[in-house]
């Protein structure tokens, strides 16, 4: 295809869009605001702002067009297949959005008197009921804001338990090498040292190595299950038992809970604490990187240490415990964030859960695992599968199939963009070389998977044929082609400044 140039720089539906700072015009406004009336300089402590702020002035139509154009430079689940491994990019139901905008739920302040927010507390309580019921765990801390935040909540509860039981010498945490980076970072935030546990050739935790590392100074293990290679840790009961015998706790990273929801109760695996990414398993939107929510289920032993606040059933209805002294016999380890948790995310997750029900959720994990195994079975002769199946909700390949082609995992993935797909996760987990991790999710139809499979097979053939230059040049059809990340990091430009950011 010949290179087409235009006078405007636009390319049909691909529209260039300057920064807002490059299109302001003083005096325009996008919101009509009543005339303020007099202010009182003394009441402001003599600190009324001198000088201007520097924000651009735009009208409503300009603003609407700006963000519409920006949105068109993004790829979302709504746009197409998004097989980003370990991220669970599945369909986000719009019912959830509608419910989260009901004025009776969204227009509430967290410090209203309890009598005026019984329905909101019921949302929290009902979601907690489902999370406990599905996992078989007796308690859940609702307030963590995200997965990593939930991990931290779980480890703080574990540390509170140990400290409370005179067991403060437990400062080591065992973390498999295949773990998400958040696990070691979280352990460090709790004052713990991280002791990595190797993986076996089967892509699972080396149980013998783990047992050898257990001891009276181990506070807990952090194991992702299903793990980041998309495999179920089949010796999990043995791991849990050995951990408990050593007096340590089993923290399960619940990032991949979506693979087993409705089919396995977490409590039956010997787990003491696990966060649940509501934005993954329960399909609340990822939103370009948040907000998420990470409620953390806790075992009987850890329940008393759950953070503030929490909802309890009182004589006059639902109540909110906001201070330790109102907590009965409990010993909350503290507060993890402002207010009462990610309420807007709770509504969406609950709408999804109520829509699916126990039967639908069981079908969900079944179809997610079915789809991943279908990809694995349909691609393992042209890509190099890292481990034998069956896999769980995602399948892992490495870059052996690209050996001597001059093409990297990154090149291969970028080629997918021109084909209209979002790339898979690359270079994670670290335990295989040049990883390509694909998570199709249960909301993709067989036709979509077949289309994707056909393209991957064609690209693999193209790579074998030695057409490396094509791969190196990809993507070609996007609003921007490969970006210079080295320049971005060497000379950071992190904001707009007048006259300094011309493209």
């Amino acid at each position: 295809m010949a290179e087409i140039t235009t006078f405007s720089g636009n390319r049909g539906l691909q529209l260039e869009e300057p920064l807002i700072f490059e299109q302001g015009c003083p005096g325009r406004i996008g919101v009509d605001i009543a005339e303020p009336g007099p202010i009182d300089e003394d009441r402001l402590g003599g600190l009324a702002r001198k000088g201007t702020i520097g924000l651009p002035d735009l009208s409503e139509p300009q603003v609407v067009r700006h963000y519409t154009r920006l949105s068109q430079k993004n790829y979302g689940i709504d746009s197409g297949f998004y097989p980003l491994g370990s991220c669970t990019m599945k369909h986000n139901p719009r019912l959830s959005e509608k419910m989260a905008r009901l004025p009776g739920l969204v227009d509430l302040h967290p410090f209203q008197p309890r009598s005026t927010v019984q329905g909101a507390l019921e949302v929290i309580d009902l979601l907690a009921h489902w999370l406990k019921g599905l996992t078989g765990m007796p308690a859940v801390a609702m307030s963590p804001a995200a997965g990593a935040h939930g991990e931290w909540c779980g480890l703080m509860a574990i540390r509170a338990y140990h400290d409370d039981h005179g067991d403060s010498q437990r400062t080591r945490v065992l973390v498999p090498e295949s773990a998400h980076g958040t696990n070691p970072a979280t352990a460090a935030m709790c004052g713990y040292s991280v002791d990595p546990v190797p993986a076996t050739e089967r892509g699972r935790v080396d149980v013998a190595a783990l047992k050898a590392k257990l001891g009276p100074d181990v506070a807990c293990i952090m194991v992702t299950n299903p793990n980041t290679c998309g495999l179920f840790e089949d010796e999990i009961l043995d791991i849990a038992q050995a951990t408990h015998e050593a007096g340590a706790f089993f923290y399960c990273d619940g990032a991949n809970y979506n693979a087993i929801v409705g089919r396995v109760k977490i409590a039956d695996l010997g787990v003491d604490a696990m966060h649940i990414n509501l934005h993954k398993t329960f399909s609340t939107p990822h939103g370009g990187g948040g907000p998420g929510a990470g409620p953390t289920v806790l075992s009987e032993k850890l329940a008393a240490y759950a953070p503030l606040p929490f909802v309890v059933h009182g004589a006059g209805g639902l109540e909110l415990v906001e201070h330790a002294e109102q907590a009965g016999g409990a010993k909350p380890f503290g507060r993890v964030k402002g207010y009462h948790g990610q309420f807007g995310v709770f509504i969406r997750a609950l709408a999804y859960i109520l829509s699916m029900g126990a039967d639908g959720l069981r079908q969900t994990s079944g179809d997610a695992v079915l789809n991943a195994n279908y990809l694995l079975a349909s691609l393992k002769d042209v890509l190099s599968a890292s481990f034998d199946g069956p896999c769980m909700h995602e399948c892992l390949f490495d870059d052996r199939f690209l050996k001597d082609s001059g093409i990297t995992t990154l090149d291969f993935a970028k080629m997918l963009i021109d084909e209209g797909f979002h790339p898979m996760t690359m270079y994670f987990p670290l335990v295989v070389h040049g990883a390509l991790l694909m998570e199709p999710t249960e909301t993709e139809a067989k036709e979509t998977l077949d289309g994707f499979i056909a393209v991957i097979r064609a690209l693999a053939a193209k790579a074998k044929a030695g057409e490396a230059d094509d791969f190196k040049a990809a993507p070609r059809l996007t609003p921007r082609r490969r970006l210079d990340e080295t320049q971005a990091a060497r000379v950071p430009v992190l904001r707009w400044k007048h006259g300094a950011n011309e493209g």
């Binding site: 302001g24 325009r28 919101v31 202010i39 009182d40 402590g45 924000l55 409503e60 603003v63 700006h66 920006l70 430079k73 993004n74 979302g76 689940i77 746009s79 980003l84 419910m99 969204v106 227009d107 302040h109 967290p110 410090f111 009598s115 005026t116 927010v117 909101a120 995200a146 997965g147 990593a148 703080m156 970072a185 087993i260 695996l269 990822h286 990187g289 948040g290 907000p291 906001e322 503290g334 507060r335 964030k337 402002g338 709408a351 829509s355 126990a358 039967d359 079908q363 695992v369 349909s378 069956p390 963009i417 979002h422 067989k446 921007r480 082609r481 970006l483 320049q487 971005a488 992190l494």
Partner: protein, 449 residues
């Protein structure tokens, strides 16, 4: 089920390709003892209509802010959010995309984050800002940890002006990180003396402006005092609209500014999700937590944006990362930046003035309530009202609620150990209040006091 596309025929065909008997066979690695052979004993799935009915029923049990004269603040403020903000927020390309790790297909997200970072710098008067954190409270805690890293000191001082949730969160976060926290008494009069508090052991002093009880103070001398002993001044802002009218923390010498961004774009949402703003000086950028978006060029030399300086973060630095944070509050940052873009310089300035004018009007109206007096010397759009000796503000608030008025928050809800705060009521006014609201509050207060 409406979200699951497979027919039974699809499933059979796929199982044949895989070579598995049934779906259960794919779960063979799960120990049999833990495998359930039927759905868990909870309710079955429901139609859209049925789910809507359940939520409508729960919503009906609440008294929503829009249905009552409403004067609650205490860190979260009810503002009018322009209709286009929420409409644009639901565009699927924003709503259903992931963190922009693949910049070629995420220039939309990356550009608005770049604009967001710039806006945060401008309103706070700082040099660099990250792409957001969970909320104001966690951003505050991250600032404490960062200050300790920068100064290599261990003592964190929390002013009595700081939101109690920020205090509690910070205390919890630093608990096992080898830092000491000194918490000062709540400060409803704005009379706290901080100058003598900092010394050579101080990593940072964290103050809120306007304070939790509404007071505004000049932080310039405090910043100098911090810098003299090698400490950082961290300023928390719970009401970003105030920055349209008040001298920004950056201009008063702050080293780190953290804020709750909820006021712009997001609505109340019963307190979550929030939006943590985090800004600092350029020289500390590599000590910052959270994601950063930066400008660069693409292969064809065109301007574009990427996530950058990622080596600070957990997915690369693991246990040595600046924080374990992985998400930001992407969509909330989008709501914030869209609202602020709609307002612009003219709009934010006018909105801030209007908020202050409304609070002045509220104070004026409250003069008609016998025995009640405003404790503040200074305020922006919120102040502490003393209801009279022996009066329990908590009971007053309940009585107001019974009359359909959401009349502020009793200070004792946050400070149960401070009996002298029992008669104190925190009241906020914004552009959403009418004179009728204020009159209703005044007459109801006069009746219950």
């Amino acid at each position: 089920m409406r979200y699951l596309p497979h027919t039974e025929a699809d499933r059979r065909a796929m199982l044949a390709t895989i070579g598995a008997k049934d779906v259960d066979a794919l779960f063979k690695d799960v120990p049999a003892a833990a495998r359930l052979d039927r759905p868990i004993d909870l309710a079955a799935g429901q139609s859209e209509m049925a789910v809507e009915r359940m939520f409508t029923r729960m919503a009906g049990k609440n008294l929503s802010a829009g249905h009552a004269p409403f004067f609650i603040g205490a860190g979260l403020y009810r503002h009018h959010v322009p209709a286009s903000v929420d409409q644009l927020l639901t565009r699927g390309e924003f709503l259903t995309s992931y963190t922009p790790y693949q910049p070629e297909v995420s220039q939309g997200t990356l550009q608005y984050l770049f604009e967001f970072q710039t806006q945060v710098c401008l309103i706070t008067g700082m040099e660099v800002a990250n792409a957001s954190m969970y909320d104001g409270a966690t951003a505050c805690a991250e600032a404490a940890v960062m200050a300790a890293r920068v100064t290599r000191k261990k003592n964190i001082i929390l002013s009595g002006s700081l939101h109690p949730h920020y205090v509690e969160t910070t205390r919890t976060v630093v608990k096992h990180q080898g830092l000491e926290v000194e918490e000062l008494a709540p400060d409803p009069f704005g009379l706290e003396d901080l100058m003598g508090r900092v010394d050579s052991r101080t990593a940072c002093l964290i103050v809120q402006n306007p304070g939790f009880f509404g007071g505004i103070r000049d932080l310039t001398q405090l910043a100098d005092a911090c810098h003299e002993v090698g400490a950082l001044l961290v300023v928390a802002v719970a009401e970003p609209v105030s920055l349209g009218l008040i001298t920004p923390p950056g201009a008063m010498g702050a080293d780190i500014v953290v804020a709750e961004g909820q006021s712009l774009g997001m609505g109340l949402q019963f307190g979550g999700p929030g939006l943590g703003l985090f800004a600092t000086r350029e020289k500390y950028v590599r000590q910052m937590p959270g994601r950063l978006c930066g400008q660069t060029v693409d292969q064809d030399g065109k301007r574009g944006f990427v996530l950058t300086l990622s080596t600070r973060e957990q997915h690369i630095r693991r246990e040595k990362a600046t924080s374990n944070i992985c998400t930001n509050s992407g969509l909330c940052a989008l709501a914030f930046t869209m609202h602020l873009t709609m307002l612009g310089e003219t709009g934010l300035t006018r909105l801030a003035k209007l908020n202050h004018a409304q609070a002045l009007r509220l104070e004026q109206s409250l003069r008609r309530v016998k025995g009640a007096k405003v404790l503040n010397q200074t305020y922006f759009n919120e102040f502490a009202l003393y209801l009279g000796d022996e009066v329990d503000a908590g009971e007053v608030v309940e009585k107001l609620a019974a009359k359909g008025i959401l009349g502020g928050v009793p200070a004792a809800r946050f400070y149960p150990h401070w009996p002298e705060l029992r008669p104190v009521l925190l009241l906020a006014a914004t552009e959403t209040n009418t004179q009728d609201d204020m009159d209703a509050l005044v007459s109801a207060l006069s009746e219950v006091l």
